[in-house]
Structure formats: structure tokens, C-alpha cells
Symmetry: C2
Subunit: 207 residues, 2 copies
């Protein structure tokens, strides 16, 4: 996978800019500034201008950013021009909640299919997602041409299933298990949903 | 609530340093360097040294960081010396998964009590968490002296319940709903679990 030269930390901020711009747009706001975005996001305006300068100039000195143009540009940079079909691995509580979650589609993703090992769940539909037998993981992922997976299996199976996802050509894994996955960096991107990191950030301010 | 002068973005990295140090420690490693931490975290060593310098010196030039000391120091900075009891608001799929999640305790938190409006759930126990009637939210939160809440109610109720949490003296809310909560900044810290932000970060690298 080709590494780009823009720091990952910069890329990680683009989705935050995007959702903030989308919220402003939904309120009917058409223009904004690095100062306004910075205040909403608790990021310095200088940082925002520097981040966006990696991708060319978006604002005019004094007149700020045209929100619709900046939204389209960031969506394009993040490869969100088309919708990514997503597979959910594990139809337990988290997997079912993700299958029923309606927030994917208008943000670039569609929760498409589910996998589980439980015969009672296989063949069922949860939300719009058909549940397939996890034994057929690789063949179904290839059939549906899916590159993005949400991993929500019991933690004892997490690494073994992640290995299968890599073999099936999955390129991005969002890991809901508490397991620290070992995956080949050059084949797949992994991010973890770890609520404790955010809780520990907040407790700094308490007491 | 007293604002400190250290940027929030610096504080947000401390939990990531902590979990990486804890993983190294679990593998029996006793010393590390900003270079090793940086490689594991995809953060520059200079950034790590700068972040830690806000809190005084931890490393010796050339000999790096003593992991047990650095773990204890970061835990202390983040107010994790004692355990924070946590309330889970909403006993749906996400709330139940959180009640059953075993990863809180050794990282500074204890999932203690649950709230729901469903009479079938009230009075039950999920994991170690007793389910209380959400009508008694304020009085129970005060009785248990809880300052940290995980919000996992249906999104139509999110803001209204968040308002009640603030009134009950909750100081930190981890918001699992897709709703952008409006809360008084000077009374409560809010963070959101938004899986789309992490998915959008990864799609940058795809295609």
C-alpha cells in the first residue's frame, strides 16, 4: 500500500473538520473561518490552516472558507465520493447495534453484511444486513467486493478472524474488541474503538 | 471547572502513551525511549518528549524512560490513582455490551449501575450492574456519587437525558449516540464515540 507523505495525525483531523462543516452546513451556514472551526473543535486556527494547506488553498484571505466547496474537497481527499460497503464480523450485541445503526450511509459507508457462527443467527436479517456463516467469510467478502470490516467478535477469536480478513483482501479494520491486533502494516489499516482512552482524557480535568 | 494551560490535544495523547507502556510492561519490558514509543504509536519522538516535558522530566538523556515510573506518573496525571465508578444510561444493545465489558477496571473505571425506562429491565442485573429506573436517575447518581456517565439511550432522548446528567452533577459524558450534544462547557466534559471518524481516516489510504 503506497504511503503518502502527509502525517497520519493531519489525516485524522480531516474527518473532524468534515463533520463540523457538515453540521454548520445543516444549519444553513455557507462560510466559515479557521477561527470559527478552531473554536468549535478546540484546535488552533493556525493548525487548521496548516493542515488544509497540505491539500492546496481552500480559503481566501479575509473571506474564509466556502463550506460546500470545502466539504466536497475533504470528502474527495478522504475517498468518500462513492459509498464503501462494510462487513460486520460478529452478530453479538455490538455487531447487532452496528447493523441497526443508521448513521453510516450519508457519511460514506453502507453496513451491508454480517457474519456469525451461531446457526440461529445465520440466514436471518438484522436491519438491512443478511447474516452469513463465518465459515464462508473469505468467499462472501470477495463476492461482495468488501474492503472495510468492523470486527466485533468475542475477544478470544479476534486475532484469528483478523488474519482471515487480511487473507480475504480487507484493507481497513475497525476493531471493537479490546485485543491489540497484529496485522501486516503494508496490507491493512487497523483502528481500535477504545472507550477507555476517551474516558481517561476526561478524568484529567476532574477532581 | 478550572481550565489548565496544557493543550487538550496533549492530554488526549497521554492515554495512548499509557496503554502502550502498559502493553510493553505486560511483555516484561522495563525501559523504553521516545523513539520506540514513537514507532509504536506513529507519533514523532520529538512530539512525545515535548508532551511529557509539560509534566516535568521523566527520562534521562541516553537511558530513556523507566516504564513502571512513567506508567505511575501518567496514571497520576490523569487522576487514575483511584477507580472511577461509571453509570451506563440505556440498557439497549450498546448499554448491555458496556455493562458486560470487562476492560474497565484495571484501567481506572468500574461499570457500576445501569438505567433504563423498560419495566422488564428495571431491577435486573446485567453483568455486575443493577438496572435502575431512569426516572430515579438524579437521585441514584447522587446516592452512588457518580461523576462519569456513558450515554447509550435512543438518539431522540439523548439531549434531554444529557441535560439531566448535568443537573445530577455528572462531570464527564462519553456519548455513544450520534447526536451532537449541547452541554455547558464549564460544567461537564463530553466526548463522542463516532466510528465514522475512524473509518474516514482509513479510507484516505484506500484506492
Amino acid at each position: 500500500m503506497a504511503e503518502k507523505n502527509i502525517p497520519s495525525i493531519v489525516i485524522s483531523r480531516l474527518p473532524k473538520y468534515l463533520i463540523t462543516l457538515e453540521r454548520l452546513s445543516a444549519m444553513g451556514v455557507e462560510n466559515t473561518s479557521s477561527g470559527e472551526l478552531g473554536a468549535l473543535l478546540n484546535i488552533t486556527p493556525a493548525q487548521i490552516r496548516k493542515d488544509l494547506s497540505f491539500f492546496g488553498g481552500f480559503g481566501k484571505k479575509g473571506s474564509g472558507y466556502a463550506i460546500p466547496h470545502l466539504i466536497n474537497s475533504i470528502r474527495s481527499i478522504l475517498n468518500l465520493d462513492s459509498v464503501w460497503d462494510v462487513a460486520i464480523i460478529g452478530a453479538g450485541k455490538i455487531g447487532q447495534a452496528l447493523a441497526l445503526y443508521e448513521g453510516f450511509l450519508n457519511r460514506g459507508f453502507s453496513n451491508k453484511i454480517l457474519f456469525d457462527a451461531d446457526p440461529q443467527k445465520i440466514g436471518q436479517k438484522i436491519g438491512n444486513c443478511q447474516v452469513f456463516d463465518i465459515k464462508n467469510l473469505k468467499e462472501k467478502l470477495r463476492e461482495y467486493d468488501i474492503k472495510v470490516a468492523l470486527l466485533a467478535v468475542p475477544q478470544v477469536h479476534a486475532q484469528e478472524v483478523a488474519d482471515q480478513l487480511v487473507q480475504a483482501g480487507i484493507k481497513a479494520i475497525l476493531n471493537y474488541t479490546p485485543v491489540y491486533l497484529t496485522c501486516p502494516n503494508d496490507e491493512v489499516y487497523v483502528q481500535q474503538i477504545d472507550p477507555i482512552l476517551q474516558l481517561q482524557h476526561m478524568t484529567y480535568y476532574l477532581k
